[in-house]
Symmetry: C2
Subunit: 558 residues, 2 copies
């Protein structure tokens, strides 16, 4: 008899597979607060602050050796949450015990259980948004779609890829070879999908759920057990996730130790030790470059996907809508400023100026020296209202980020200062406008290194061709998740497309309106590509899921 | 306009995709000599000996720095063929120049050109069989299906997987989000399949074409250029292949440098140096364990598939057909003896004897001590006729293999000696019967290391449960491509199935008749699984092809 969770979600899974192949606008998870009920936000806020501050988060995991935690809210809310700290060896042993029954359940049951988990996570989107806000510094307005529907969509997308890939493998076949007058040769064959092994999923401090759900769900759907290792500054969103997953797995008839949470602290990190355990066969990592590169050099015979910082470039050549362009770049620079992977960091503009051809009686060329001040004013327009500005910018998570921001202000010509903005609800929150600096083209030590703070660089070049060449070099050498180009010249757009293809960087052409460069939608956008140093994989394609399982066959004479 | 080679092969590709999903008995390439025309073998032999001995093999590759070669026929035929030796840097540079147009041509054109190449290779199967025979030592009877239709089927199978995987990515999509009263948000998106980079394909000395075609065609079909690095003792089959591929690519309108041959010698190997070149992004390797392990430890951020020696185990518990079982094991031990990957190496039989239940009036238990002599006699029956024995066994390629065989004869109780057999046509050929040795269960240093010569070990255990445990340990630690079990007890079969699944070793249950254990059929058998040390990938599944390309997207406001 089919598992009830598969029966319940079978149509959804079919739609999800259709969506990954047609890639239009589709998601079963709404990012419209109105769909979550009246007063949902207030009720959620109240529930959040009743449940978590000073709580001992409950997880019935094996091998508990103590408690840890110590997250601090960038908004100044008192958290003081502790989590069970478990021995990695105990979690691995429990994961291995849990896997055989999960493997045996087959692709349909696993996909159905994963879909049920995601539906339940979706119902807790507001709680997850508050948990994300108070660990990452994202505003509630940013965290709600990102940590909720956005992350859930990426999770279901991974399940759809995994399910389709596994369903390509038949359960059985009869092999029969005619041999003329002699009896045909005949074999009965069976094919089993087997998990690769224990998976380790590292989440990052900026977007803990959306950075880790693809790997977590891709591994789980393909039969593996998953140990989730959150960044020590953003544990809660993953703790809520893991607790819900364990509960759902249990209700579905499986061992909850298929998913567990491994908590450590910055002072006593366990990541390297765990990554080298021989039973760990899959690692998904999102985080800083240093540990990502260490993983790339040190783990062997492990399926490894890393996502690390890169340099996102904007090339400004000309625009059909100059003001629309400025407004859009300003939006991309201010949306969750500097704490969002793929946010623009460097804007190239040529000394020959910016051709602006529409919304004017005649085509005009804006002088290059006007571009910086124009962009600064466009940023200013986005930040006129302090409350709205805080929702757009979010709060700065760590003092190190502030320090970097202040140090950078000395490093170039300030087009717009990173002025502090008082948060109307959270007086302790550090909210800063993005710093806009003009730096010379040869200051690659500045603009070619991810700043890790809300700062963007304007770099003046000799020609747009040079802008494209510099962008291509940065994307190839440093990696990049996003490349944006504005031009009314199709030859320039074509050159940009070729640079995008050569470096494997997703390209946005002439973006205006409410689209934030670098923000991606599950089921439609391939986030990253795997082809440049910013990411070793693509969210999501066949390559992200296919290596997570093996096919093992048996046969006998028929 | 569609490319003529795609038009020609579109139906074939559709059938191939159907075949990889249904996995019955299917191949467009016949392994029946009768289908190749009357006198095809004699004509092929004549043509082979006219064309190749003392030839300077012509390849119009860049960067020629000299000539090399020096293969010796295990049958004593005079070869003395030389090949152009090219600078690896020149081949890589030419490959990179050739790739953009090939990438741009798209999945359909590339799949069509690959199918045309395979059709043309198929027409030269007899020539490829002679080239394989006189480099590897396989008999003509063995080489014809293996190096011809078998390898070609594996090539087309890889093309089918690659084509299906790439076709899952749409060319474009419109993303449109309704926003109530406001105008909908709308983006036009495009998705491009881009190659990973230059691929390096290492072929082995035993089965040069079938071990390398999957990787070569998977890489080429996904848009990559391929440098083929043959084992220095078996160059000719790949030289013929590469020359034909280059000619076909040229006719199809592409740069022949998409495929090139990199020749070296055992005295001056280039493999390590080439494998570490930063432009090499994919490596497929089949060969000895030493270099395979070196690759696994030393290449980073390269898609790496290795196939190395493993230990193939047979567990004998009971048999419905005792004589049929003996005959089948004898066939597997004598077919291209000891030079075929996946050939059985160790046969476990328990002290409790072998239940034999059919072809007898009543069930009987054959005492364990009778099993070795019975199997020795079954081998003898296969070798009664010297000419047929030579076709079955093939010739031993290297003096080192002979030396290993002679040394092993001192290492255990000889059940059947590796007697030399005079070849009726080739007096210089070294043909040896397989050595059958009984060794103690604690002589794991013998039976758990691939012998690399035509030798098999009988190991007597206390119980079949111990046999299964020992086999599982060998498969897990040493890797294995094949596991064979004979039992009339379904509980034992189930235990064997579980060991097969746990270790990722393909399982044959109760094989009798003309099936050779470890020999696999394209489109039906998943060769290896990727789950144990004998192979890092499976021939062929989605995971074998999906990482060979990236998806890069672009979008603009609609």
């Amino acid at each position: 008899m089919a598992h009830p969770m598969f029966v319940k979600h079978q149509d959804l899974l079919g739609s999800a597979v259709h969506a990954i192949e047609s890639r239009g606008c589709w998601s079963p998870y709404s990012d419209d607060l109105a769909d979550y009920g009246e007063n949902a936000v207030e009720a959620g806020r109240k529930a959040f602050f009743e449940a978590y501050p000073d709580a001992q988060f409950y997880l019935d995991q094996p091998g508990v050796v103590g408690r840890g935690g110590g997250e601090a809210s960038p908004y100044g809310a008192a958290l003081n949450i502790s989590y069970p700290k478990c021995s990695a060896d105990a979690l691995i042993a429990a994961a291995k015990t849990a896997m055989p029954a999960w493997a045996k359940a087959g692709p349909d049951v696993r996909a159905g259980v994963c879909a049920e988990i995601l539906e339940r996570l979706n119902r807790r989107s507001i709680e997850l948004a508050f948990a994300t806000m108070h660990t990452t510094g994202q505003s509630f307005a940013a965290a709600f779609p990102e940590a909720g529907a956005g992350a859930q969509g990426r999770g279901l997308e991974a399940v759809a890829y995994a399910w389709r890939e596994m369903k390509h493998v038949p359960y059985r076949a009869t092999w029969e070879q005619e041999r003329g007058a002699r009896a045909p040769l005949k074999l009965e064959k069976r094919y089993a999908v087997m998990p690769r092994g224990v998976a380790l999923a590292f989440s990052c401090a900026e977007t803990p759920t959306s950075s880790s759900y693809p790997g977590i769900f891709a591994s789980l759907a393909t039969g593996n057990a998953v140990i989730v290792k959150p960044h020590p500054e953003a544990i809660l969103p993953l703790a809520i996730t893991v607790a819900l997953m364990r509960q759902t797995l249990k209700e579905a008839g499986f061992d909850p130790d298929l998913v567990s949470l491994l908590v450590d602290t910055a002072a006593a990190p366990v990541a390297r030790e765990v990554a080298l355990k021989p039973d760990v066969r899959i690692i998904d990592y999102a985080g800083d470059a240093e540990f990502g590169e260490w993983l790339e050099q040190n783990v062997h015979d492990v399926l490894l996907f890393t996502e690390k910082p890169g340099v996102s470039c904007v090339v400004v050549d000309g625009a059909a809508d100059y003001v629309g362009m400025l407004d859009n770049i300003a939006l991309s620079l201010t949306a969750n400023a500097g704490q969002r992977r793929g946010a623009p960091q460097v804007v190239f503009v040529s000394r020959q100026g910016v051709r602006a051809s529409t919304h004017m009686a005649h085509a005009a060329t804006i002088p290059a020296e006007r571009f910086g001040p124009d962009l600064a004013r466009a940023i200013g327009r986005r930040l006129e209202d302090a409350a709205a500005a805080c929702e757009l910018l979010g709060a700065i998570r760590s003092p190190a980020t502030q320090a970097r921001l202040d140090a950078l202000a000395e490093a170039g010509e300030v087009m717009r200062a990173a002025e502090p903005i008082a948060h109307p609800q959270w007086p302790e929150a550090v909210v800063r406008a993005p710093l806009l600096l003009q730096v010379p083209v040869d200051a690659g030590d500045l603009w070619m290194e991810e700043s890790g703070c809300p700062a963007a660089f304007i770099v003046e070049t000799a020609t747009t061709a040079q802008s494209l060449a510099l962008a291509e070099r940065a994307m190839r050498e440093k990696g990049s998740l996003m490349f944006s180009v504005y031009s009314d010249n199709e030859n320039i757009v074509q050159l940009a497309e070729e640079a995008s293809l050569r470096t494997g960087t997703p390209l946005a052409v002439g973006l205006v309106g409410d689209f934030v460069a670098g923000r991606t939608a599950a089921f439609s956008d391939y986030r990253a590509s795997g082809a440049n140093p910013a990411a070793r994989g693509c969210l999501t394609d066949g390559g992200f899921v296919a290596g997570r399982f093996f096919v093992v066959q048996s046969y006998r004479n028929a």
